[in-house]
């Protein structure tokens, strides 16, 4: 798998109501529940749950993209990578200041209930994605 320079990954980042980003990439790094996985062309088929909420993509043009994908999952098969998350968003589309404010607000409400904890996770993922992107 070392010399696959001619190959690339077809990546699709899909939210529940739209396709957020679609393109070709050389590497995708995602954090699953077992830790970070880097996916290169020729990766074995994989289905994993995402944790931590950010996914990093290096496109074929050398651009580096970060996306927030809280509570999503990743599926890899035949050099096609699909990242599915209900609230997926690209890092550079997120306003960092606003995301930080939202995180503060979410933290203030606490993490007592399931919904509140979800909100905090979402806010954290957005802040992280926005920070890495800028």
């Amino acid at each position: 798998m070392a010399d696959e320079s001619g190959k690339h990954l077809e990546v699709a980042l899909v939210a529940a109501e739209r396709v957020v980003w679609e393109g070709q990439a050389t590497i995708v790094i995602a954090r699953t529940t077992d830790g970070d996985v880097g996916i290169l062309p020729g990766h074995a088929p994989l289905l994993g749950l995402l944790q931590g909420g950010t996914v990093q993509v290096r496109t074929v043009d050398g651009d580096f993209l970060v996306a927030a994908a809280p509570d999503g999952f990743i599926s890899v098969a035949n050099d096609r990578v699909s990242i599915l998350a209900e609230n997926a968003e690209m890092g550079h589309d997120i306003d960092l200041e606003e995301a930080r404010r939202e995180l503060e607000l979410a933290l203030k409400t606490g993490t007592a209930s399931e919904a509140d904890a979800d909100e905090v996770r979402l806010a954290e993922a957005r802040v992280r994605a926005a920070e890495t992107a800028s």
Partner: protein, 303 residues
């Protein structure tokens, strides 16, 4: 007594106001339906990838998940009825409610207790008017359902499904909604949501197009655990989007025929008005002529 000119005129004016209203509603529905279809299309990739992933897990691992296991001897069945928030959509709401009643009848014959879940104000009104118990209901945004709403509904239904029957849980869940076949045809339909029957897409995979052998991270069970609730939410979202498109299509059609009827009515009233007006003029003239003749006769007699 035939209507007077003034009455006819007033009626014609009010009908033309109604026509303007229905025409506007028709146009609004027409423009929204395009958006609804786009939304349904935009939700397609998510649903497709999710279905693919779920069938991959289901095919390559022998995991029994509570959401996919049939309960022996089901006693309580939940019915999610998707209706609209507003009327002016022809038979849309009544036909989906009727389909729901038919399903209820079937379930009752199977000696199952029915637990109704409702979305849309029309369905809620129907049930509250008949003083039936509602397990849970949601209203608002029936013509533009968001995924968050679908998620909310899915969470409530999954929770009910996972609760043991004795504690008020349900054994199966059905959805009654209106399927958008085309702009002209929308059909009320019933699908069973839970326990899940996982089916792969519309077309069966070709012989050489077998699903790849997946690695699971962390494990097949955990992945399935994470995926199935998402899958359920996506199915509900799909049904809601279909229902929304159907609602708008029905509304557009209903408003179009209302506009056409108003136009017919206006023409009829105009004709009637002209007739009344003409006969009034004729009568006036004949009265004048008659009066003049009588005067002339009287004058002729006195000379």
């Amino acid at each position: 007594m035939p209507a007077t000119q003034r009455e006819l005129k007033d009626r014609r004016n009010s009908v033309s106001t109604i026509k303007k209203l229905t025409r506007a509603m028709e146009l609004i529905a027409a423009s929204r339906i395009v958006k609804a279809q786009q939304r349904a299309q935009a939700a397609g990739p998510y649903a497709r990838e999710l279905t693919r992933a779920v069938s991959a897990v289901a095919t390559f691992s022998n995991v029994d998940h509570p959401l996919t296991t049939e309960k022996p001897n089901p006693k309580r069945a939940a019915v999610l009825l998707i209706t609209s928030d507003r009327g002016q959509a022809g038979a849309y709401s009544s036909s989906v409610i009727r389909e729901g009643e038919r399903l209820n009848q079937l379930l009752r014959e199977d000696e199952k207790e029915i637990v109704p879940y409702l979305t849309g104000r029309k369905g809620i009104a129907y049930y509250t008017f008949r003083q039936r118990e509602i397990a849970q209901s949601w209203s608002g945004e029936s013509d533009a359902p968001t995924f968050a709403r679908a998620r909310e509904v899915a969470d409530a239904l999954i929770e009910a499904f996972l609760t043991p029957t004795e504690e008020g849980g349900v054994d199966e869940i059905h959805i009654v909604f209106t399927r958008f076949v085309s702009m002209l045809t929308q059909k009320p339909d019933v699908i069973r949501l839970l326990p899940l029957e996982v089916v792969e897409g519309e077309e069966a995979p070709a012989a050489d197009d077998v699903l790849p052998l997946y690695e699971f991270e962390p494990s097949a069970e955990d992945v399935l655990d994470g995926l199935l609730p998402k899958y359920v939410a996506s199915r509900i979202h799909f049904c809601m989007l279909q229902a929304a498109a159907s609602e708008l299509a029905s509304r557009q059609r209903a408003m179009k025929s209302a506009t056409d009827n108003a136009q017919d009515l206006i023409e009829r009233l105009t004709r009637e008005y002209n007739q009344v007006r003409q006969s009034a003029i004729t009568q006036e003239i004949s009265e004048i002529v008659g009066g003049a003749n009588a005067l002339a006769d009287a004058n002729a007699g006195s000379e």
